[in-house]
């Protein structure tokens, strides 16, 4: 085994492979940082190039793009409150307030350190737990999936904004929007125009909800007229700050690794879940959403922590964990490799090369992040009156280019208006987004569970796993209500 590992290490450590990984990571960071450009887009665009490459370098390129873009999403989330990717939505909640306080550099550094640690731990988990975790994930049925996602949704609703009720309402709106289009049995729902038959894409909804309200606020309220875009400012993350967030980083990495290994969950849900857990358990939980480094640490460690772990079911069982690993499955097939248990027997050399390459790419992510951070600091020189229209222009072009669809552009603009309305009504947008992403899976699993049980709702409490999640949901609600009552009492006492 040691010989095989050394042989794989020797094969990975070539100038060509390193160059491919550097290009992938750096390109991914840049693409992820541009609003409207997603990691999926980066990986999909690179797929045709892999035709001309050897198997392992081609997969390493795609993995590097995935990792880079997942971190890159945090750059624009922090500097201009526009998450480049869905998984960076939580990062914007604390990152942008920190940027407004002149601590953008500190926020970016914390995001980078957390991402690298999360990514590294995720890769380790991939190496050691690939087969057992994937087998466990495969044994989880629709009722367990449904309760797991309901738990994630409740957590997100509880931690976003100032009210659990408003968070839940936001989640309901997101779930409702997710029902647009074809359902699992082929029925079309709310297809007011033909383009709606295939449902609403995540990218225009996400970018519209998070990026455009900033422009609308600036135009309508003119609150930030004299405010400059975020400067890097204070950059150094002190030892105390890092140690204060270490627990959340490690927990986020584990959450990312576990949820990433469950097919269908992915980095976005992991980031939201980790953020919620960190806020719930942190002494500084009340500061979350106002510029708390620990919030960034929790979110970024989890979303990058999920990257490596999404490869677990892909490699061990041939089941892609999300859209990006679905594209990677295609890349494996192009190279004549079939992911699954047999791959560990027939292509163990390639597997070792891939695992070592992924560990190396964690280190490269650190350097790419540092270099890109300085580059993106130039954004700080642009006044908001120019930056937000520039973001609008990038969003319009980026969103159109995903599917060459003007309908997506219309969705982007409408969601911008919806996001502004939600801001005026003080309704948090994060539960809306995560509910929109999880909605189809949530519904599918509920309907499958009910179909399996012949319509008997008790199937949702039929196994120890569903019981555990039910208890956790009740606990989360109880604790959130208690926190809100306490907050209300404190406020009355102060006034």
């Amino acid at each position: 085994m040691l010989n095989e590992i050394l042989s794989a290490l020797y094969a990975v450590a070539t100038f060509q492979n390193l160059l491919i990984m550097i290009a992938g990571i750096w390109g991914g960071v840049l693409i992820g940082a541009v609003p409207g450009m997603t990691g999926t887009m980066a990986v999909t665009l690179a797929l045709p190039f892999t035709y001309y490459m050897d198997p392992v370098p081609s997969i390493l390129l795609l993995v590097a793009l995935y990792k880079g873009s997942t971190y890159g999403g945090s750059v624009s989330a922090i500097l201009i409150r526009t998450p480049g990717t869905a998984s960076a939505a939580c990062t914007a909640l604390d990152g942008h307030p920190l940027a407004q306080q002149g601590k953008a550099g500190k926020a970016l550094n914390m995001a980078l350190y957390s991402s690298v640690i999360g990514d590294f731990i995720s890769n380790i988990s991939l190496i050691f737990f690939a087969a057992p975790l994937a087998i466990l994930a495969l044994k989880v049925g629709p009722p367990e999936y449904f309760m797991l996602m309901l738990f994630a949704l409740t957590t997100v609703a509880g931690v976003s904004g100032n009210s659990l009720l408003l968070g839940l309402i936001s989640a309901m709106l997101g779930l409702l929007l997710a029902t647009v289009g074809e359902d699992m049995y082929g029925s079309f729902r709310f297809d007011f125009v033909p383009d709606m038959q295939s449902g609403l894409n995540v990218a225009p909804v996400l970018v519209g909800l998070f990026a455009l309200p900033e422009l609308i606020k600036l135009v309508v309220l003119r609150a930030a007229k004299t405010e400059q875009a975020a400067k890097l400012g204070d950059q150094k993350v002190t030892r105390a700050e890092f140690m204060g967030s270490l627990r959340s980083i490690l927990r986020g990495s584990v959450i990312g690794s576990v949820l990433g290994a469950v097919p269908g969950i992915g980095p976005s849900a992991a980031a939201f879940f980790s953020y919620g857990e960190a806020q719930r358990s942190s002494k500084r939980g009340a500061n979350f959403g106002k510029g708390e480094l620990e919030g960034i640490a929790a979110s970024e460690s989890a979303n990058n922590g999920a990257c490596g772990a999404t490869m677990i079911p892909l490699l061990a069982l041939g089941v892609p964990g999300d859209v990006i690993t679905g594209v990677m499955l295609g890349a494996f097939m192009i190279q004549g490799l079939t992911p699954g248990p047999l791959l560990f027997q027939t292509n163990i050399h390639e597997i070792y090369m891939l695992l070592i390459g992924m560990l190396v790419s964690s280190v490269l992510l650190f350097f790419a992040g540092k270099v890109t951070m300085r580059m993106f600091s130039k954004v700080a020189l642009i006044p908001q009156t120019l930056l937000t229209p520039l973001v609008l222009m990038l969003c319009l072009i980026g969103i159109y280019s995903i599917n060459s669809s003007m309908f997506d552009v219309a969705v982007l603009l409408v969601m911008g208006i919806v996001g502004f309305g939600m801001f005026l009504l003080n309704i948090p947008t994060a539960p809306f987004l995560i509910a929109f992403i999880l909605g189809p899976m949530l519904e599918e699993n509920l309907r499958r569970a009910l179909a399996m049980s012949r319509g008997d709702l008790s199937v949702l409490l039929s196994s120890p796993i569903t019981w555990i999640f039910s208890v956790l949901i009740v606990l989360i609600i109880a604790m959130t209500v208690r926190r809100e009552v306490q907050k209300s009492k404190d406020r009355k006492a102060h006034s």
Partner: protein, 160 residues
């Protein structure tokens, strides 16, 4: 009417319209549903009815903190006019793309957005971002990623 009551009732009304007006019309039940699978309207109806319940509760249980909405102190009427003009610009953009093409429309919307933010001093920068920036970004997408942007009927007619 307080903000929380207005918000709660507004959202409850939205969910009610979805549950009782849109779902019956726009979520048709298929004639045959295999096995014991719930029908396609089960989930949207359940979500909307839960939303009604939550919104009504939220109307009468305001959150502990209602953060103030900051602005430049302009009267409400002026803010409404600004919003209407911006939303009209969005609508006009979507209408114009099939006629004058994606490039010209995007340049116009970007310039309009800059003007609407109140930017009056950095005209060259505004033109640079609005015109040159848009052209460069579109060129990148067109050449590197192969995106084909709509040219527009008028542009085609004029042979540009």
């Amino acid at each position: 009417m307080t903000k929380s009551v207005f918000r709660g009732l507004l959202i409850a009304a939205f969910f009610a319209v979805v549950a009782f007006a849109l779902v019956p019309v726009y979520v048709p039940r298929p004639a045959f549903i295999p096995g014991f699978a719930p029908p396609p309207d089960m989930w949207p109806r359940l979500t909307a009815i839960t939303g009604i319940g939550l919104s009504v509760i939220a109307a009468f249980l305001p959150p502990a903190v209602e953060p103030p909405i900051e602005g430049d102190g302009s009267p409400m009427a002026r803010k409404i006019v600004r919003a209407v003009v911006l939303f009209a610009a969005f609508f006009l953009y979507l209408t114009l793309v099939p006629w004058i093409g994606f490039l010209a429309s995007t340049i116009l919307l970007t310039l309009a957005a800059i003007a609407l933010t109140g930017e009056r001093t950095r005209v060259l920068w505004a033109l640079g971002i609005g015109v040159i920036g848009t052209i460069l970004v579109m060129m990148f997408f067109q050449s590197a990623l192969g995106t084909q942007f709509p040219a527009g009927q008028l542009v085609k007619l004029l042979g540009l």
